[in-house]
Amino acid sequence: MSALIIPCYIKTQWDIDCLNRLFDSVQAQTKQFDKVYLIDDASPLTYKLRHDFVEHIILKENGGPAKARNVGIDKALALNIQHLLFTDHDCILDKEWNEQMTSFLDRTEFAAVGGMTYSWGKTIYDYYHDINGTLAGKWLLPDRKELWYMPSLNFGMKAFAADEFPFDERFPTAAGEDVDLCLRLRSKYKIGFCPTAKLWHDYGYKNSFSGFSKFVRLFKKYKSSSATVYEGHTVLMWDSSESIYKGNMQ
């Protein structure tokens, strides 16, 4: 059994379009999810979903994506679901994503898994993120046999790991909470990489000219989580690592 958990904070029509696009790709899966949870983190915009297989949970107060994901984790664990998979509303799943992620977790000893993430757009910034591996996770060096970190947009955990290592709700935004989780998780378990579990992430760049400020804001946002990550961990396991891209996927 597998559940898909998606936190969201809907501010614009673009976000709604993203959601519909994501659920179209969810619907097209070769192996269907047993549950799909969309946890709305008190969005300012009201909207209706056109996909009836989604359990839509609306939180009363905004608490950040970590809290929203934990709500989904609790629901899935209550149903004894074995594999908990995570993505974001601005992603598009390959039709075999669920099949690949769950079969990887079934056949390996890894407690968690990350898939391969590509940029959806075609701007120069999207190209940059693809070769930089901005959201593609990191190999643990030197062996490249397990992951140092995988962003929560293309991530899955076995139930026991999710039960033991929920997201830290002190992270207010979608930045750093996945790094924190991977650091804690890796103190006990290993995270595997499944290159055949593909998804595309839409960074939202309209074109190569107007996207620059968005590009800078993105990295500033990721940086904003640093203090929380730093304070939360006595020992930061900054083992040698390398970001994943097509050229070192294996």
Partner: protein, 339 residues
């Protein structure tokens, strides 16, 4: 996220910035398969690198700063009977004493992040062989070590090897006058220990420090100790009296201010009791959530212990607990301690 993290630590400096930039760019450039995009890609990577560099990421090791101090209370047992301290009254049973291999493993596991390993007690030199084993291992791992002792068991062979290893020795001295010394130590050993301090000075040179505990009882003696240290060219530090079960009064230390800005052990300290129990601070029991140790290094991996939810919660509480122990030297970087 930075492209590649390196284990090698470097001192932050101008040359390190260049090294860091080049180290980031070289592997990135190899990834650019479209030659006409090379320039904008390098520009974007420089911007990303600049943002992380400007904000000084928490990736301390990446920028060469090691963040943790490992403090091992190797034993509660002591050959002195100082009234300031009650630790010696409860020596651990022999069968509960941690096997040295467990601590060495812990040191190996943490050494990339350690700026210092500190041995304290009780009297650590009761386990002189273990102290030397740790000192040798710390040297191999390039971790500076500090041992805090009463000086009673110092001898030439130990000091000579300790000097070669480059570690720091701190001797606890609260008076330099025989009568007061004997009263403060609860043992008449002034004439035994003083020559050993002089021997330590001769062998260790500037690797020797002296530390005094300031309380009502010792207040008159401390300036004399300071002067004596100055006269002999030994670095000196004052530690405020804390409640470790002794009878000395810490009225003086209560006048000292501490607040949330005081550098705190919460983030940096990893403390090990004689039986292997792990705490973030030896005064940790005062915090309700932290009455029980976080784990035991004989039973569980140290990093696993430090990554538990309770461990991070305890850190959070300690940050603002503002207990008097915030004035202790373990709450401050070693470089700020001695003058």
């Amino acid at each position: 996220m930075s492209l590649i993290y390196r284990r090698k630590s470097n001192d932050p400096s101008f040359t390190h910035v260049i090294y860091d930039y080049i180290g980031e760019m070289k592997p990135f450039i190899k990834r650019v398969r479209k030659p006409h995009l090379l320039l904008p890609m390098v520009l974007f990577k420089s911007i990303e690198w600049g943002i992380y560099r400007w904000y000084k990421t928490p990736i301390r090791r990446f920028y060469g700063v090691k963040g943790n101090e490992l403090i091992y209370m190797i034993t509660n047992a002591c050959n002195d009977r100082c009234p300031k301290c009650g630790i010696w009254e409860r020596p651990e049973p022999r069968d509960q004493h941690l096997m040295i291999e467990h601590f060495i493993n812990c040191l190996k596991r943490l050494h990339h992040n350690l700026y210092q390993v500190t041995l304290t007690g009780g009297e650590p030199l009761i386990f002189k062989k273990d102290v030397m084993l740790i000192a040798e291992e710390a040297k191999k791992l390039n971790v500076p070590m500090v041992t805090i002792t009463n000086g009673r068991f110092l001898e030439e062979a130990f000091l000579t090897r300790y000097k070669e290893l480059g570690h720091i020795l701190v001797i606890s001295v609260d008076s330099v006058e025989r009568e007061k010394w004997n009263e403060f130590r609860g043992r008449k050993n002034f004439d035994i220990v003083m020559p050993k301090i002089m021997l330590a000075k001769e062998i260790l040179g500037d690797q020797l420090r002296i530390q005094s505990v300031l309380s009502k009882e010792s207040a008159e003696e401390i300036p004399k100790v300071r002067d004596w240290c100055k006269q002999h060219g030994i670095q000196f530090n004052i530690q405020y009296n804390q409640d470790f079960g002794g009878t000395w009064t810490n009225a003086i230390s209560e006048e000292v201010n501490y607040d949330n800005d005081t550098p705190c052990a919460a983030r940096k300290n990893i403390c090990i009791y004689p039986n292997g129990d792990v705490v973030k601070c030896f005064d940790h029991r005062r915090i309700p959530l932290a009455k029980e140790p976080l784990g035991n290094i004989a039973k569980k991996d140290i990093i696993e212990i430090l990554c538990t939810k309770r461990s991070t919660e305890v850190s959070k509480i300690m940050k603002t607990c503002n207990l008097p122990c915030k004035n202790m030297s373990c709450n401050k970087p070693q470089t700020l301690l001695f003058n």
